[in-house]
């Protein structure tokens, strides 16, 4: 279940309360997010939509521990991440968050296998265990036969699937997808969305996705609309289009 009224019962996997982010540019204060409340249960697939500059990516960054809020709190699985030190937050991210980026952000000098393996290097898994995890993740995204390929040898859609494999390989608590189809053609975008959909349905993953694409948003269970840093509407799937 997803709530934006701040009246969640405390069992939510992700809980944001009074979340605000203010930037200072010159002498001016820009309120990117204001007093935002959010409760997300495990296994939900949420899409955030809204015009450019509405605060979608900022919200994603705050929920993923990449940025710290100016006010309010974020609690994930009982851990209030907004009170963590930078070092603790980094370690927390490695265990709990899988990131999928618009530009894939694969490391060009590493093979698909090595890119996917990156998050596992931070764990105590043995080499054999890491290999097993990476192979599984690449099989899930349908790229088991592309392990030794470098990003330049893959299509955009394949690169994004490697990015998704990297996001899920360490079995994080939830996935944050920032415009995952923004740089893909329709066919590749659909493949990537099918994959994310499958992760939610078959593997019970929790996914929070920022998108401008109504077709992508339609895959989500819930679509939340942001405008000028405020969550203004909540629409269940199918109505986003």
């Amino acid at each position: 279940m997803v709530r934006i009224d701040g009246r969640g019962d405390g069992d939510a996997l992700i809980r944001a309360r009074g979340l605000g982010k203010t930037y200072r540019r010159g002498g001016e204060e820009i309120h990117v997010l204001q007093g935002l409340n959010l409760d997300v249960d495990a296994g939900e697939f949420i899409a955030f939509m809204g015009p450019s500059g509405s605060g979608k990516t900022t919200l994603l960054n705050l929920l993923g521990g990449l940025d710290v809020p100016s006010e309010g709190s974020v609690t994930v699985a009982g851990d209030e991440i907004t009170r963590m030190s930078g070092r603790k937050l980094t370690a927390w991210r490695s265990r709990h968050v899988g990131f999928v980026f618009q530009m894939y952000n694969l490391i060009p000098v590493l093979t698909a296998f090595q890119n996917v393996e990156l998050p596992l290097l931070l764990t105590s898994l043995s080499k054999a265990q890491r290999r097993q995890h990476v192979e599984t993740a690449l099989e899930v995204v349908g790229l088991a036969d592309r392990m030794t390929h470098y990003p330049r040898q893959l299509s955009g859609g394949q690169e994004q699937r490697v990015g998704i494999a990297r996001a899920i390989v360490a079995d994080p608590t939830f996935l944050l997808c920032d415009e995952p189809t923004g740089d893909l053609d329709r066919k590749s975008a659909d493949e990537a969305l099918d994959l994310i959909d499958r992760l939610v349905r078959e593997y019970g993953k929790t996914v929070l996705m920022v998108t401008h694409d109504p077709l992508a948003a339609e895959r989500a269970h819930v679509v939340l609309y942001l405008e000028k840093g405020v969550l203004v509407d909540k629409v269940t799937a199918g109505r986003a289009r």
Binding site: N61, G64, L66, D67, G86, R87, T90, A91, R93, S94, R95, F99, F101, M103, N105, I107, P108, V109, L110, Q114, L118, P119, L121, L122, K127, R166
Partner: protein, 379 residues
């Protein structure tokens, strides 16, 4: 070990750039190695000088001789245990470029004085019995492919005429830095044939019982000959060798200046290269941080990359310098001790790593301080 591929992949990302940066280190460290060799060659006399030996010269100048009669007077100075003497010959073998030092030595006392030079007993005996006999260092023998029994003609430049010698012995040094490029022959042969300064020697070397007594004995010896026609100037062997080096100019300052300029340039070049490399990888470093790699890891990653370039480049440069020295003195005898010591290689490697660290630290700090959200926003 699990991060090795990450470091190596980054190093091989721009092969030409890595090769050129590594090459810069190699060239700089090669130069360092050669400078260290040249410095060592000049300092060698100082380094190997016996702490219990004093050198007694004519007070006027090193080229002015001293009477042979001083030998007995020196022996009578309390604290002096041995005395020997020698003469510079300054001859030419075949060609002026074939320089090597030739000394007319006292056959009775020289070997006892310079125990670091080892001559087999039978060869020393052969030298004693042949007035035209000569003993040569093993490096010199190797240089001209001389062997025992060879007859060597040397044209005198100070003492006129062609002088012929029979090689009766080949000495070697006890230590690697001992000079084995010298040519010794008998002083009595020189004294017999020379047309002037008969009964005079070039300088004396005296051994003292207690090195702590050196200052007192230097004074005592010179006082012994004060107001004589041949006043003396005595010094420790180390100071004597050092004064020779000084006559060539301040070699060490020159080497230090050249070395500093080279390393400072290397620092700037490498620092700039690493800064560019980090700037190019801003997004990747941000992704590493996003997935959970710490600021410290990113800092270490960049520094380790620079240090590897420094170590490999430095190692190659020092290796080449070592190989170069194995071919021997390229100056034809001006730098007889042409040797890159292991400690110089160690210092060179440390210097390379220090430059690598210094060059990498600023780009590494900027990488570690990178804010993920800002970096990901950059295209």
């Amino acid at each position: 070990m699990k991060y090795v591929h990450l470091v190596l992949s980054n190093l091989f990302r721009k092969k030409t750039r890595t090769a050129l940066t590594t090459g810069s280190f190699a060239v700089a460290l090669f130069l360092f190695g050669i400078l260290a060799v040249v410095d060592g060659a000049f300092q060698q006399g100082v380094d190997v000088a016996g702490v219990d030996r004093l050198v007694v010269l004519n007070r006027v100048s090193i080229i002015q001789p001293l009477p042979l009669a001083y030998r007995d007077r020196l022996l009578r100075v309390p604290g002096v245990t041995h005395v020997t003497f020698a003469n510079w010959f300054g001859g030419v073998y075949q060609d002026e470029r074939n320089f090597f030092p030739q000394f007319a030595i006292d056959r009775e006392s020289y070997r006892q004085m310079f125990t670091e030079f080892v001559v087999p007993d039978d060869q020393w005996q052969a030298f004693q019995t042949d007035k035209e006999g000569a003993i040569v260092g093993e490096a010199l023998a190797e240089r001209f492919k001389w062997k025992l029994g060879d007859r060597i003609p040397i044209k005198g430049t100070i003492f006129a005429g062609t002088w012929e010698f029979n090689i009766r012995g080949i000495y070697h040094g006890r230590r690697v830095q001992d000079d084995t490029t010298q040519f010794w022959f008998r002083w009595d042969y020189l004294d017999e044939r020379k047309a002037f300064t008969k009964g005079m020697v070039g300088w004396y070397t005296v051994r003292i019982a207690n090195p702590d007594d050196a200052v007192r004995l230097v004074k005592a010896i010179d006082e012994n000959f004060v107001n004589s026609p041949f006043e003396t100037k005595t010094d420790t062997e180390k100071a004597f060798a050092a004064s020779f080096v000084k006559q060539m100019g301040n070699i060490q300052l020159l080497i230090l200046t050249v070395g500093s300029v080279v390393f400072f340039t290397l620092l700037l070049v490498t620092g700039n290269t690493m800064a560019i490399a980090v700037r190019e990888r801003t997004r990747e470093l941000a992704v590493l941080k996003a997935v959970g790699f710490s600021d410290r890891f990113v800092l270490a990653l960049v520094i380790v990359e620079t240090m590897i370039v420094a170590a490999v480049g430095g190692g190659v440069g020092l290796g080449l310098a070592k190989l170069f020295t194995l071919r021997g003195d390229p100056t034809g005898g001006l730098l007889p001790f042409f040797y890159l010591a292991p400690e110089d290689i160690g210092v060179g490697l440390l210097l390379a790593l220090a430059v690598g660290l210094a060059a990498g630290v600023l780009p590494a700090l900027s990488a570690s301080r990178l804010r993920v959200v800002d970096a990901l926003r950059r295209v």
